[in-house]
C-alpha cells in the first residue's frame, strides 16, 4: 500500500473539476430539462382536466339545447294542429255562410221574378180584359182613359185574391 500524497491532491482537483464540469455542462441542463418536463406534464394534466370539464359543460348545454328544440318542435306541431283545425272550422263556417247566402239570394230572385211575372201578368190580363171587354161591349173605349179604371179593378181583384 503506497500512500502518495500528491495523488490525494490530484484526486481532489480531478473530482472537484469533474463535479463543476458535470454541473455546468451535463447535469445542470439535464435537470432543468427534467424540471421543464415535469412542469409540462403538470400543465398538460391541468389542461386536460379543464378540457374535460369544458366538454362536460358543453354536453350539458347540448342536452339542454336538444331538450329546448324538442319542446319547440312539439309546440310548433301543437300550434299548427290547432291552426289547421281552426282553419277547417273557419272553412266550414264560410261554406255554410256561402250556402245560406246563395240560398237567400236564390229565394230573393225567385221572389222578385215572381213579382215581375205577376206584374207582367197583371198588365197582360188588364190589356186582355180590356180587349175582351171592348169586344164584348163592342164599343170603342179609349184604352188609355180606361187604364186607371182597369188598374183599380185589378187591384181590388188582387187584394181579394
Amino acid at each position: 500500500m503506497h500512500f502518495v500524497w500528491t495523488s490525494t491532491v490530484i484526486t481532489l482537483i480531478a473530482f472537484v473539476v469533474l463535479y463543476l464540469l458535470l454541473n455546468r455542462y451535463a447535469i445542470g441542463p439535464l435537470m432543468s430539462v427534467m424540471e421543464k418536463r415535469r412542469e409540462m406534464v403538470l400543465s398538460q394534466l391541468n389542461e386536460a382536466s379543464a378540457t374535460r370539464e369544458e366538454a362536460a359543460a358543453y354536453v350539458e348545454q347540448q342536452k339542454e339545447a336538444l331538450q329546448q328544440a324538442r319542446k319547440d318542435a312539439y309546440d310548433i306541431i301543437e300550434q299548427s294542429r290547432q291552426t289547421s283545425s281552426k282553419q277547417a272550422d273557419q272553412l266550414i263556417a264560410q261554406a255554410k255562410d256561402e250556402s245560406t247566402r246563395l240560398k237567400d239570394e236564390a229565394l230573393r230572385d225567385i221572389e222578385s221574378e215572381k213579382n215581375k211575372a205577376m206584374a207582367a201578368l197583371r198588365g197582360e190580363v188588364g190589356r186582355v180584359s180590356v180587349q175582351i171587354a171592348s169586344k164584348l161591349i163592342e164599343k170603342e173605349i179609349d184604352e188609355k182613359s180606361n187604364e186607371g179604371l182597369v188598374d183599380q179593378y185589378l187591384k181590388d181583384v188582387g187584394t181579394k185574391s
Binding site: H2, S7, T8, I10, T11, L18, I27, L30, M34
Partner: protein, 271 residues
Amino acid sequence: MHEAPIIELGGIPFDLSIITMLIVSCLVVFLLAKFATRNLSVENPGKLQNFMEWVIEFVQNQIAGTMDLKKGKPFITLGVTLIMFIFVSNMLGLPFGIVFGYEHAGDATIFGQPIVSVVDAFNAAAAAGNEDPHIEVAFWKSPTADVSVTMTLAAIVFFMVHYLGIKKNTKSYFKHYLEPYPVFLPINLIEQFSSLLTHGMRLYGNIFAGEVLISVILKLAAVNVVGAIASIPLMMVWQGFSIFVGAIQAFVFMILAMVYISQKIDTHEEH
C-alpha cells in the same frame, strides 16, 4: 504484487498510474454525460438522455430516502458525480491491464525520470539477497484501487458534511457530540473519524481485493496449460462478480455520503 509507477519531480513524488487513470475516469464520465445531454429534449429524449435521467432520478430517489428532498436537492449533482465517477473507476481496472516488467533498476525510467518505487524494490531485493529480481509496474488499474484516491473522496465528503453541519445546523451540530451524556464525547469523536475511515477503506478494500484476485488468477494462468484452462472460468466468474461489486460499492459510497449529509443537516427539533 505490482508496483506503482512513482516518479519524483523536484523531490515531489507523483504516482503516474493514478494520474493517468484519474484523467481517464474523469474523461469517460464527462464525455458520457456530455454525450448523453448533447441534444436535450423535453418531449422526445434520446436513449442516452433517458439513461442519464434514470441515473439522476435514481440518485434523487436515494436522497429522498435519506432526507427531505427540498434540502437534498443541491446534493443530487454530488451524488451523480460520485456514483458515476466511482462506478467508471471501478470498471476501468476490469477489462485489461497494462503492466511493464523490469529486470534491471537502470531500465526503469519514464520521461527520463527513474521510477522511484521500482528502484526501491530492486534495492530491497538486492538487500534480501535476490540475484535475479523481476519487478512489474501496473500502469492501468482502477484509480479506486488506490487508498489515496478513495480516502480523498471520503475526506471530501467528510469535510463537506462537517462544514454543512457547522454552517446550517450549528447548535445541534455541537450538541450532538455531547449526547446522550457529555461522557460520550470521545466516543462520538471516534465515531466521526471511524466513519470517514470506513467510508474510504470499504471502497478501496473491495476494489483492491478484486484486482489482487485478478492478478492471482493471471499468475495461475501462467503456471501451465491446466492452470490456463482452469483460469478461464475463474476469470469469467470473478470479472462478473467484480462488476457487481463495483456497482454496489459505487452505490454504497454515494448513499453513505447522503446519509452522513442528512445526519448533519437534519434539525431534530421538528420531530
